[in-house]
């Protein structure tokens, strides 16, 4: 079996002889400069090497990973790749590792400089140099995987395409994630935490989390790539990811509270709901809301075609159903504790969903998601703030989830109103298959 063609293409593109020679020389020159400027101490070299890996890996690597997908669209070569015999996995790892190979080549020299500095210098400031290096390396990979995943999601969503802006956005998304993770590497090494009842050092937990989330980002990239290559996907992997998030966040929340703390379960549920809520809204806005696919989903539902249904159901719907199921479970288990809060939150989320769909199901849905963000911000923040400043504090219950029957009633009414609007628009615009083209060609 030969080398992955996509990986090889990236080697041709990235690993030119000129670059292979110049990169180590340039890096060596920088490290010598830092060494000399730092009065022949190696601290500066070590920090510079770590910073180099972080910047190269997370920023430049993220940009290259994002570019490996977005430039295919921009250069009109994406259809050729979609038509190839390459499997989604071959294409995913060929892009992820191939496009960033030169960055890792440079990182090897940085890591070598870091290692040499560690061996020859006094490093009381860096308590665990190996762990810090490992964290920076895995964070860089996480940044690249996140950048690749978000670029693929953007391609899958379609619509207007702005190469430079999108590339920058997804690079920053990956890099910010990486830098957030790396920041824990500089925390006190003795800082400990609990995940459920397991006691771990924060740096260890951060490292393990970064490894796991890198794996999820790669799995996510693979799934979206498979969809692009017309390979049928079901929602089960997304569902497992959601369950993982619940278990992960629940563990942090439970671990952070004393065991005898009152409401420990409810508070942990609130933490899990908050994170699932973020995932729900991220999925709602990043997925394509094609009315034709929704109609096909309706047909599959009516025909009890489970294969079709499981393929067509959007991720945000899966997350919403999971949240709803957890709310019901919590309500039953905890005897209705904070039930108004959770159920009102659920109905407000439903209202938001209907508004987003309402805008997307217009006849000209350009920038529908951007418009939806504006409307939702108005409803969730600006309007309540106006009422608050006008002295009507109680009105908050009409816009935000709260442990009050008024909030629940408001949520139900607003969701119902949004649903009616959505239904009318759906029937008018997309209730049936479009009529054949009648205009002159």
């Amino acid at each position: 079996m030969g080398l992955n063609p996509e990986f090889r293409r990236n080697i041709w593109r990235e690993m030119t002889l000129h670059r292979l020679i110049v990169a180590p020389l340039a890096l060596a020159a920088i490290f010598v400069l830092v060494y000399v400027a730092d009065k022949h101490r190696t601290d500066g070299v070590a920090y510079m090497a770590l910073t180099g890996i972080g910047l190269l890996g997370a920023l430049w690597g993220g940009r290259l990973a994002s570019d490996s997908v977005l430039s295919e669209i921009h250069n009109k070569t994406w259809d050729s790749q979609r038509m190839s015999a390459l499997s989604p996995w071959t294409l995913t790892w060929g892009k992820l590792f191939g496009s960033t190979l030169f960055v890792w080549y440079c990182a090897v020299f940085c890591a070598a400089a870091y290692g040499m500095a560690m061996l020859t210098g006094d490093f009381s400031k860096i308590k665990e140099p190996e762990m810090l290096l490992a964290l920076v390396l895995v964070s860089s990979f996480l940044a690249q995987a996140v950048a690749l995943f978000s670029s693929l999601v953007s391609v899958r969503k379609g619509g207007s395409f702005m190469l430079a802006q999108e590339k920058t956005a997804y690079t920053l998304l990956g890099a910010l994630t990486a830098f957030a993770v790396i920041s824990f590497g500089y925390a006190d090494v003795n800082w400990k935490m609990h995940w459920y009842s397991y006691e771990l050092r924060v740096i260890e937990f951060t490292f393990i989390s970064a490894v796991i989330f890198s794996a999820w980002a790669v799995i996510g990239s693979y799934r979206v790539m498979a969809e692009e290559l017309q390979v049928k996907n079901t929602f089960f992997v997304w569902f497992i990811f959601n369950l993982f998030i619940v278990v992960y966040v629940f563990g942090i929340a439970v671990g952070a509270m004393p065991l005898l703390e009152q409401d420990i379960i409810t508070k942990s549920f609130i933490a899990a709901f908050a994170v699932l809520g973020v995932i729900f809204y991220a999925a709602l806005f990043s997925e394509r809301k094609n009315p034709v696919a929704f109609r096909s989903m309706g047909k599959a539902l009516k025909a009890v075609d489970l294969d079709g249904l499981f393929t067509l159901v959007p991720c945000w719907m899966v997350t919403f159903c999971l949240i709803a199921a957890l709310v019901i479970v919590h309500s039953v288990v905890m005897g209705g504790e904070k039930a108004f809060l959770f159920f009102s939150g659920l109905f407000f989320a439903l209202r938001d969903t209907f508004i987003v769909l309402y805008l997307n199901f217009s006849k000209n849905p350009k920038r529908a998601d951007a418009a939806a963000v504006v409307y939702l911000l108005l409803i969730a923040f600006v309007l309540p703030l106006i009422l608050y400043t006008a002295g009507i504090e109680e009105a908050r219950a009409f816009f935000w989830a709260a442990d009050s029957p008024y909030a629940l009633a408001a949520g139900v009414l607003e969701a119902a109103a949004a649903f009616v609007l959505l239904k009318v628009r759906w029937r008018k615009n997309y209730g049936s298959v479009a009529a054949p083209i009648e205009q002159e060609g």
């Binding site: 030969g2 080398l3 063609p5 996509e6 090889r8 293409r9 041709w12 593109r13 250069n75 009109k76 070569t77 259809d79 050729s80 790749q81 979609r82 038509m83 190839s84 015999a85 390459l86 499997s87 290559l229 017309q230 390979v231 094609n290 009315p291 034709v292 109609r295 096909s296 006849k363 849905p365 615009n429 997309y430 298959v433 479009a434 009529a435 054949p436 083209i437 009648e438 205009q439 002159e440 060609g441």
Partner: protein
């Protein structure tokens, strides 16, 4: 080789393909023509298993394109209307990548690249960067990429747009060559005179529907009949009745100085009819198969469809 059955495709609010059915035989070159917005590109993309229809099926060599898209992709070469190349790679590497990504083993890559380059007459440009090539050469590299894995079906969307007349002529020759080697081609184009050079079939699409699917010389698909013209030295009143009395003759249309009619049968049937015409004293000065001009045929069909709509 290609069977499209009741295919419908909908963009939100627009039914781009409306119950399209057609059949394309192995080794033929089908010209897909129609006005802008007729659904040609959408149909080609559905055939290439790049888009998922709301109803109907596409079968490529018996494989359902939407059930097994990846299997179909191995059988198909596709060149879209606006295509791109990896500009920073050499032509050789571009074609090598295309070959490898279609599953050709490493050991067989140099030979496959050599063959594709020779076919497209770009062997002298293998070391040039794709980004510096002329429009015509880029087109040839793109086609070389599409055929390097020897697909059974080659789908080309506006392959000649932007090419000069000489390059177009070369392309026509290449299509005939590929067809001669057993490849089935579907070519979408607006340039009907050029399609006429190599197409064996013409499929007219209008408003998402197939208006006509026929041989370019007027043959109905799967029909052995062909149109013939008989020219007489002087008009003869009995010509129409005589022709209608002959077995295998239909659609007789008498014109000044002769008639056009459809005749079913082989060359000996044609010779027999000619012999009988001469024997009956019709004063035949010409007898030949009528090749309807593709452009005229296209306009006629479109006019008929719209007039009847």
């Amino acid at each position: 080789m290609i069977e499209v059955d009741s295919l419908s495709f909908e963009y939100p609010g627009v039914l781009a393909l409306d119950n399209v059915s057609l059949s394309i035989e192995k080794g033929s070159i089908a010209a897909l023509v129609g006005p802008n917005g007729a659904g040609k590109t959408t149909l080609l993309r559905c055939m290439a298993a790049l888009e998922h229809p709301i109803a109907g099926t596409v079968k490529i060599g018996g494989v359902d394109a939407h059930e097994d898209p990846r299997v179909c992709h191995k059988k198909i070469g596709y060149l879209r209307d606006i295509f791109g190349l990896y500009d920073d790679l050499s032509v050789e590497r571009c074609i090598t990548y295309a070959a490898a990504s279609h599953g050709i083993a490493d050991a067989a890559l140099p030979e496959a690249v050599k063959k594709a380059a020779a076919r497209l007459r770009i062997d002298n440009h293998l070391l040039a960067k794709a980004g510096v090539l002329s429009r015509g050469l880029r087109q040839r590299v793109a086609i070389a990429q599409a055929v390097v894995h020897e697909p059974a079906v080659l789908i080309l969307d506006e392959p000649a747009s932007g090419l000069d007349p000489e390059a177009r002529h070369t392309l026509s020759g290449l299509f005939l060559e590929l067809s001669g080697q057993g490849m089935t081609l579907i070519v979408s184009s607006h340039i009907l005179t050029e399609l006429e050079e190599y197409s064996t079939h013409m499929i007219i699409l209008d408003k998402g529907r197939v208006v006509s699917s026929s041989g370019v010389s007027g043959k109905a698909v799967g029909d052995e009949g062909a149109y013939f013209t008989v020219e007489l030295i002087a008009p003869h009143a009995a010509l129409e009745n005589f022709l209608l009395s002959v077995d295998g003759v239909s659609n007789v249309s008498v014109k000044p100085g002769g008639a056009v009619f459809m005749l079913r049968g082989d060359a000996s049937t044609q010779a027999e009819l000619l012999k009988r015409l001469v024997g009956q004293g019709f004063g035949v000065k010409g007898f030949y198969e009528t090749r309807e001009n593709m452009h005229e045929s296209y306009l006629k069909k479109i006019k008929e469809t719209r007039g009847g709509a």
